[in-house]
């Protein structure tokens, strides 16, 4: 059976990414109401990203290493772990700090007046969304690596 923690990690990560998409959309054409919503989204985004870090980290340390990693490495697509898990686990570490930077920018500035702050939030939110999609794509590749190993009955 698939460990539910990997689903929780992915769901929290996706929710985090969608909150930054929400922020990006709100700030394309800001009003006071939209900025208020973007502030709520920024807090939620940081919470979701840090929760995803904890859930993913716990899964990676307590389940993936003993059960999934050897399966993928012995299977027909060992690169799924050796390239994509290795890359994913480290790139992920950039996202929580980017989310805090967005939170700081949103709460520090009057976004109706400060256009460079607004544009910076949009750029960094877009970067978080891009990294989030990359995380999801790499997660899919890693899952495929495990599935093909199971189909090949390597263990």
């Amino acid at each position: 059976m698939v460990n539910p923690l990997v689903g929780i990690h992915a769901a929290l990560g996706e929710l985090g990414i969608f909150t930054f998409l929400w922020i990006l959309v709100e700030l394309m054409n800001p009003t006071n109401t939209r900025i208020k919503r973007a502030k709520i989204a920024a807090i939620l985004g940081v919470i979701f990203i840090f929760s995803s870090w904890l859930a993913g980290g716990y899964y990676y340390l307590n389940y993936y290493g003993d059960n999934v990693k050897p399966l993928i490495k012995e299977g027909p697509n060992p690169w799924a772990h050796l390239i994509f898990t290795e890359t994913k686990e480290h790139i992920f570490l950039f996202i929580p700090f980017l989310s805090i930077l967005v939170l700081g920018l949103i709460y520090k500035n009057n976004l109706l007046k400060n256009n460079s702050a607004r544009k910076s939030i949009i750029i960094i939110s877009a970067l978080i969304i891009l990294l989030g999609f990359a995380m999801a794509a790499m997660g899919y590749i890693i899952s495929t690596g495990a599935r093909t190993a199971l189909e090949a009955k390597v263990i």
Binding site: L98, L101, K119
Partner: protein
């Protein structure tokens, strides 16, 4: 809330570069990777804790520096650092896989 954005941006950039360098050095040097493992039981846990401590510590260390008036260059610098770090890690692990 009164954040210092310059301190936050520098902390983000330095943490990103530090995590990338520690990862690459760890992959190239077994003793260094073992040192990372020995600190917390797993190299990734050590990197996670280290990145948090570095980010928070650096932010509070830089808290009193004069903040930006214009954020245009800040978002560009952060984005370039993160994208180059991502590329460095991906290309390194790809090279590492094919070189074995």
């Amino acid at each position: 809330m009164k954040f210092n954005i310059k301190a936050l941006a520098i902390s983000t950039i330095v943490t990103t570069i530090a995590v990338t360098l520690i990862t690459l050095i760890g992959e190239l040097s077994e003793p260094f990777k073992n040192l990372l493992k020995n600190i917390s039981g797993h190299h990734w846990t050590t990197k996670s804790i280290f990145s948090l401590i570095l980010f928070i510590g650096l932010y509070f260390l830089l808290l009193r520096i004069k903040d930006y008036k214009d954020y245009k260059n800040m978002s560009r610098d952060v984005a370039i650092t993160v994208i180059l770090s991502c590329l460095a890690l991906f290309l390194f692990f790809t090279w590492h896989f094919f070189s074995k």
